[in-house]
């Protein structure tokens, strides 16, 4: 019994830490993320390409994969698929993550803000705006 308590405690703590880490990547607050997305609106929109590519359908899309959009060679070379992990890495420091990217932006440095932004992008992908033809 005395042996099992620390083991259970360790298991519980491990679960808690894992949950917190997962929340940062998985959770996020889409509503907070929408406000953060306003920072992107000089160059991006959900439903149509602008100076930057559109964001509808972003999750699961190959980096550099919007037909008709002219990407940097660096972005096309990544062979990334946009998911929570790759987005988190790119958004933290775009020019470091993909040297030569056309996105000359310092990045979203706060991990929670990135999680919120990614949550918003994920939710927006199922929005009416993104479902429209």
């Amino acid at each position: 019994m005395n042996v099992r308590i620390p083991a259970l405690l360790g298991l519980a703590l491990g679960f808690a830490v894992g949950t917190v880490a997962a929340d940062v990547l998985r959770g996020g607050d889409p509503q907070a993320g929408e406000a953060i997305y306003s920072r992107c609106l000089a160059c991006h929109a959900l439903a149509y390409n602008r100076t930057g590519p559109k964001h509808c359908g972003l999750l699961g899309r190959r980096a550099g994969g919007v037909a008709g959009f002219e990407y940097s060679a660096a972005m096309k070379r990544t062979n990334w698929i946009w998911d929570r992990k790759t987005l988190d890495r790119f958004l933290a420091d775009p020019m470091k993550a993909v040297p030569g990217t056309a996105m000359g932006y310092a990045g979203v440095k706060d991990p929670q803000e990135r999680a919120d932004l990614i949550a918003y992008l994920e939710q927006a992908g199922t929005s009416k705006e993104c479902r429209s033809p």
């Binding site: 992107c40 160059c43 390409n49 100076t51 020019m95 030569g100 996105m103 000359g104 310092a106």
Partner: protein, 199 residues
């Protein structure tokens, strides 16, 4: 004395010859002077800006991101100006702001060339949500959204420059975009400066 522009739509309260209008002209003129200062800094031809500088390629990349957004802003204001939805003096304001973006784009393109880079060109066509623009306030909201984004974009660009003069010049443009955003919000009847910090 207030230079507040009231909404809705064309019901702006400032008469063309009112003192407030003179104040705004003066304000816009001063912002133009600031931009001139940025232009001088960008084009001063300092050694650090000379071609061949190893850090110049990165700076060119950042400048081209800004140039692309400026060119799109010029096109967006053109759509707004030609929409028939803007009434004077809001229309004049939009044209003035578009003029600022043209100045930004011009100086950015020249600086990129000076650094040995290739300035991006305006796209053959841009997509704008014209279907959602039904009245003057819709156009103002759209413009405000772009200007807020521009402020954030420059805020995200300033720390990236290897050359401090470029960072200073970008910050000067940022200030101009922030003024645009505040004026547009004011025209919409919203708090022109909703927070102490930008992000």
């Amino acid at each position: 004395m207030s230079s507040r522009i009231q909404t809705p739509d064309a019901s702006l309260v400032i008469a063309p010859d009112a003192p407030e209008m003179e104040t705004r002209r003066s304000f816009l003129g001063k912002s133009g002077l600031l931009l001139s200062g940025a232009a001088i800094a960008l084009l001063a031809g300092r050694d650090a800006l000379a071609k061949g500088n190893p850090s110049a390629a990165s700076d060119v990349n950042v400048l081209n991101s800004a140039l692309g957004a400026e060119l799109e802003a010029i096109a967006a204001y053109q759509v707004g100006a030609e929409s028939g939805l803007l009434q004077k003096p809001v229309l004049n304001l939009a044209v003035t702001f578009q003029g600022h973006h043209k100045e930004h784009a011009d100086v950015l393109a020249k600086t990129i060339a000076k650094l040995g880079g290739q300035p991006v060109s305006a796209k053959a066509e841009y997509s704008f949500p014209v279907d959602t623009l039904k009245n003057q306030n819709d156009v103002l909201r759209f413009a405000a959204m772009l200007e807020k984004g521009a402020v954030s974009a420059y805020l995200g660009a300033v720390p990236l420059f290897n050359n401090r003069e470029l960072a200073k010049a970008a910050a000067s443009i940022l200030g101009d975009e922030a003024m645009h955003w505040a004026i547009l919000r004011n025209a919409l009847g919203e708090d022109p400066v909703p927070s102490a910090f930008m992000s």
